[in-house]
Symmetry: C2
Subunit: 336 residues, 2 copies
């Protein structure tokens, strides 16, 4: 195993110079730096993780707690995990996985043993038990999601209420006076809080703009596609010609096929907006305007906040990411 001593010897300098050359925490002359870098390269030197943790006060590891509930949407969840890992790595951090069954035990353990520099919390529930732990632990913690009680916490999330506002505004501006919201599964309105926040945003804005709303909870599209069809059919029967879809990709496809069966053209006869979807809506059979939920955005910001809090910057606060509207032509004036 290559140690810093061997590198120092090969480069003809002391170990402290090697350390400083690598960390950049002290100026090193151009030539010695070059010699050191060469030695590092030819010897394939990589600082020992344990020694670095012990001597420095950084482990260069973040914990990621992810409670995999039965109703977790795997693709979305994976996108968040991946985005977090990539963002962390770019800042020189690795990700240590903390799964269920060890949620509280795991957080306490990694904190007490100084195994990680910070903890990132995924898939936050309204009454998340990890909130209490985050408050007792010394290790900086960043929530990707928003619990009901976020007092004193650092949280990052898409501004779902603003998503609701934005969606309604677009449809209202296009002249629609009746909107159907195809929502998530019933259970997700209880277990998570972002569906509620989006719904709330929508309700606020329809009230302000005098618009009629019908909100339909959808079942899991894969197991009960009939429920989604039924909701779509009823909406059309009611005369609704504007849809906000806050659901998985399958639900979008079902809606699109129902519209197609009725001979309705998206963007002409009927308006559709996909709200807070994290999959690529360009993959749908018909392009749909979208107000995307971008995992990379939330996760990069979360990692940034974690890093900054290690440097003493960053006071606890909630960071709501403003939504962005991406038009591709699925919304047009009503009745045109």
């Amino acid at each position: 195993m290559t140690t810093i001593h061997e590198v120092a010897h090969a480069a003809g300098v002391s170990i402290s110079t090697v350390s400083y050359a690598l960390s950049g925490k002290r100026p090193v002359s151009e030539k010695t730096r070059k010699r050191i870098e060469d030695a590092v390269h030819t010897l394939g030197y990589e600082p020992d993780a344990g020694a670095r943790m012990l001597a420095g006060r950084r482990t260069h590891i973040f914990a990621l707690t992810e409670p995999l509930r039965a109703d977790t949407h795997a693709p979305t969840h994976m996108a968040f995990v991946l985005a977090t890992a990539v963002a962390a790595r770019r800042q020189g951090y690795d990700i240590l996985l903390l799964t269920d069954e060890q949620t509280s035990e795991g957080m306490n353990r990694v904190a007490a043993s100084n195994l990680v520099d910070a903890i990132l919390v995924l898939d936050v529930a309204p009454d998340d038990e990890r909130v209490a732990i985050a408050r007792t632990v010394r290790t900086p913690t960043v929530f990707i999601g928003l619990p009901d009680d976020s007092e004193g916490l650092t949280c990052v999330d898409l501004d779902f209420e603003a998503v609701g506002h934005l969606a309604v505004d677009r449809l209202a501006d296009a002249g629609h006076e009746r909107i159907t919201l195809l929502g998530q599964t019933e259970v997700s309105y209880r277990r998570s809080n972002f569906p509620r926040r989006l719904l709330h945003g929508v309700q606020e804005r329809i009230a302000a703009r005098g618009i009629a709303l019908t909100w339909s909870v959808t079942g899991a599209a894969s197991t009960e596609p009939a429920a989604v069809r039924a909701a779509a059919e009823e909406a059309l029967a009611r005369g609704d010609r504007a849809f906000i879809v806050h659901a998985v990709d399958d639900v979008h496809e079902i809606l699109l096929s129902v519209l197609d069966e009725h001979g309705l053209t998206v963007g002409a006869d009927v308006a559709v907006i996909s709200a807070a979807a994290s999959f690529d809506t360009a993959m749908l059979s018909v392009p749909i305007d979208t107000i995307p939920l971008i995992p990379q955005q939330s996760c990069e910001l979360a990692v940034d906040l974690a890093v900054r809090s290690l440097d003493g910057e960053a006071a606890p606060r909630i960071h709501l990411i403003p939504p962005e509207y991406r038009a591709v032509g699925s919304v047009s004036p009503a009745g045109d």
Copy 2:
């Protein structure tokens, strides 16, 4: 931060006794052990991870490399990650995530820096680049999956060929002479090797038993359900009354609904076996005999092998897990 010194002081012993009491590597009298345990408990002591890594030669961390390809089936993949994490934790190990973009770089880095005790490789491709790295690195590596060239490696996987044999045998024993295999997507037959192995097992056995086989590649069920329907319809038109399904849950459901539309009763008019599925086939609308792929099995064995290889046991070799048939009545004699 609580250190081993404080624990030793509180218990009135030396730090070495504390260390031994906790590791159990040296006998400690009952009373002193009790005193130490009490001190540990009241002080909330947890050994410093960095110090432990440096002094001991174990980090108590396993790396898990998971290349998330575009065609990765998220739920299955998550099941494997989760199963690995749980199994590792039970043996006192945490999981460090190594994603794409850093596959080779990551493996080399964690190995060179002694960050992990072993590396677990998920989602193995036939010509996986991680095979070469595993051979150059000192860190013990266990593959969960089987690459084409597995010389000198430790691999764990379901015996997919045996799954093929078993499925054909059951159908043949029930008197079926014509079988349709609804397989995976085309791309997975190129990118992975377990679909090929299952197919091969099926082909071997139908040849041996003189049975006619039609193999259909299915598209992604969610985006091209029509392709799956078509394959099922053709099979019925051909007169096939026995199906082996090696695909995601959606494909199963489509087949079942086609059978239903034709007035065919599973287990009476037609035989269906689900091969190597990792989801719960009891959740399907009609119960189906299954030869399951159990992530927990592979992952637990893999973790076991990793742990054992640290103790110098376990020589490199391939571990194929024998398949198991679970009958629920979806297979019966042909033409009855």
